[in-house]
């Protein structure tokens, strides 16, 4: 059957998109801005491949991401290969297997796309754009704090004014759930209830058990342990499990390295969150912007991941989800990411050499310039320039005549000497 060419949607698989210039310019802006930030913080780029051997990749993925992986048969190797759903395990693999001789710490960054299967529902993205950093070889709370500061700086750079960074410590819940003298099916029910912060079901499930009161109270407190810094004191009062208290201490140490104003205005805590990636081992965080229900950045400590590739290193990192940022900041990016071309060159007649010379001169002087190569009246050329985001139209007759310089926005006009233009003696800053 011939593919349906009548509607553009029928041409693409579900969950992937074409981005036209306006949106694509915004994605470019986000990518470039974050790359610059990473560079300024001393992070150096790595570019992992799109395809990985499935068994190698899976060593670094938790069960959640494993089930979301796109996999294929590799005709050249007879193995199963996969398009990675997460770049962090790839960077961990590279560090563990190829960078042993470099001194620590290693600061690495990347931008790239990943694919993830999602539940069958229209409109959910399956292709994710990520830009992230990974820091290997340091394990102090100060480092975790620095990652948070960096995420906040990134959000500010791309133009986010209001945001929340939600902190958790995965060992906290893990410790409370660890070693419960309960059947697996009951623990599954508890996890399910915790995931939904469903106190009612949690209570009902616990009522069927004969758990000691202290541990029961710990579990019952979890769904409500979210909010501002006061939550940490509340947790302190309730929690007795030693490892959970250690996790709490660790979180406090991390906050100790953060500016007080920052904590007050931007940081929230969720100690009962059990979502997240299975490789995380300590403080984790997610960034939220108003008006969007999904996180725009997320990350945290993962001290055991490189070990799965044969080299034990403490590590932490985070990544921005560019499409979520794009969605949340779409309007404010109109201005920031707007891409104008400086000049459209218009020349009538057969001899196009003067236009070519001027275009080259403009580009050499750092301006962007394109030539209108259609035979048409200048009014049409001007209308085209307006629609396609040009700032100026230059109408050229020949080297001897002055060049007409029209401002596209308001149609105002001045004339400039051809030789002055070619020698870079002009000002288009207005």
């Amino acid at each position: 059957m011939k593919p349906n060419m009548t509607t553009p949607e029928a041409l693409l698989p579900k969950g992937v998109k074409d981005f036209l210039p306006r949106k694509a310019a915004k994605i470019d802006y986000l990518t470039d801005t974050l790359k610059t930030l990473f560079h300024q913080w001393g992070f150096r780029p790595v570019v992992p491949p799109l395809l990985e051997n499935l068994d190698v990749l899976e060593a670094g993925l938790g069960s959640g991401l494993q089930s979301q992986t796109f996999r294929f048969d590799d005709r050249q190797g007879g193995r199963l290969v996969a398009v990675t759903p997460d770049i962090t395990p790839q960077v961990a693999r590279i560090v563990a297997t190829r960078m042993q001789d470099l001194p620590l710490p290693l600061r690495l960054c990347y931008t790239g796309r990943v694919l993830r299967h999602t539940e069958q529902q229209a409109g959910k993205d399956r292709e994710l754009f990520q830009a992230g950093v990974e820091l290997f070889g340091l394990d102090s709370p100060e480092v975790d704090a620095e990652m948070i500061v960096m995420a906040i700086e990134g959000l500010r750079r791309v133009g986010a004014e209001e945001f929340t960074i939600d902190l958790g410590q995965v060992e906290f819940v893990r410790a409370i759930l660890h070693d419960l003298p309960l059947a697996d099916s009951v623990i599954d029910d508890l996890r399910e209830a915790l995931m939904r912060k469903d106190s009612s079901s949690l209570k009902a499930t616990l009522a069927r058990t004969d758990l000691e009161p202290q541990r029961r109270d710990e579990l019952l407190a979890l769904p409500r342990l979210f909010g501002g810094i006061e939550i940490l004191e509340k947790a302190e009062e309730i929690v007795v499990t030693p490892r959970a208290r250690e996790a709490l201490d660790n979180l406090r140490q991390v906050i100790g390295h953060l500016d007080k104003d920052l904590v007050e205005n931007y940081i929230t805590f969720d100690l009962g969150e059990i979502r997240g990636l299975d490789y995380h081992t300590g403080v984790t965080f997610q960034g939220y912007l108003p008006g969007i229900g999904r996180a725009v950045c997320s990350g945290g400590r993962y001290d055991n991941l490189t070990d799965r590739y044969g080299r034990s290193l403490p590590a932490t990192g985070f990544s921005f989800n560019l499409l979520n940022l794009l969605f949340a900041l779409d309007q404010s990016l109109d201005r920031r990411a707007e891409q104008m071309t400086d000049v459209l060159l218009y020349q009538e007649g057969e001899n196009k050499v003067p236009a070519q010379r001027l275009a080259r001169a403009l580009r050499e002087n750092g301006f962007s310039a394109a030539r209108d190569m259609l035979k048409r009246p200048m009014e049409e050329s001007l209308a085209y320039a307006r629609q396609m985001n040009y700032r100026y139209l230059m109408a050229i007759t020949d080297e001897q005549q002055p060049v007409r310089l029209l401002t596209v926005k308001d149609g105002s006009e001045q004339t400039v000497d051809f030789t002055d233009l070619e020698n870079g003696h002009f000002d288009l800053s207005g």
Partner: protein, 220 residues
Amino acid sequence: MSDWITFALPKGRIMEDSMELFGQIGITCPEMAKPSRKLVFENREEKFRFMAVRATDVPTYVEYGCADLGVVGRDTLLEQGKDLYEPLDLKFGYCRLVVAEPKELCQGDDPASWSNIRVATKYPNITERYFAAKGIQVELIKLYGSIELAPLVGLSERIVDLVSTGGTMKANNLVEVETIAEVTSRLIVNRASLKTKHRRISRIIHDLEQVVGDEVRIST
């Protein structure tokens, strides 16, 4: 804008029950008392907004963050499996999700020996999961209403549907054979809102927890 709290509520009885409960913790909307065909109501002083939507759409509005909070039956949540927080059972709107079949079939029928059965339902996901867990293959027939009709006209042998008093089942000569889940209305919360508006939302959850009793209620 971002300091407002928006609720998505299902039109009808559950909305009335919800507003009555919210009234007990001081969340009111005088605008709603006037008869109108509006779908959005506001309490400007307190910065609350209420949207009246279809019950099955409530989780969607909340998942996408158009509403911070919602009230919806657990049946809808189980069926849609969305990524939401469900901090509280509000204990009203009680009913049960059951497997039912005609009286004649029921006599001498042993659920343990079911295989390859045909089931009509509004809840294909729950039904499929339920029977799959029991190792029973089912042919699902998705209907949008009047499920009780299906066995009477031979569309399916059995149905999976909600019952509250059991009146409709009885009138159509059907008997319940198994209960899949007990259903009440739940408070649901958008995941980002819970974090970004945690002060107001924590307060609401905490206050509601104090006024919601232990008794479940049928909403009629």
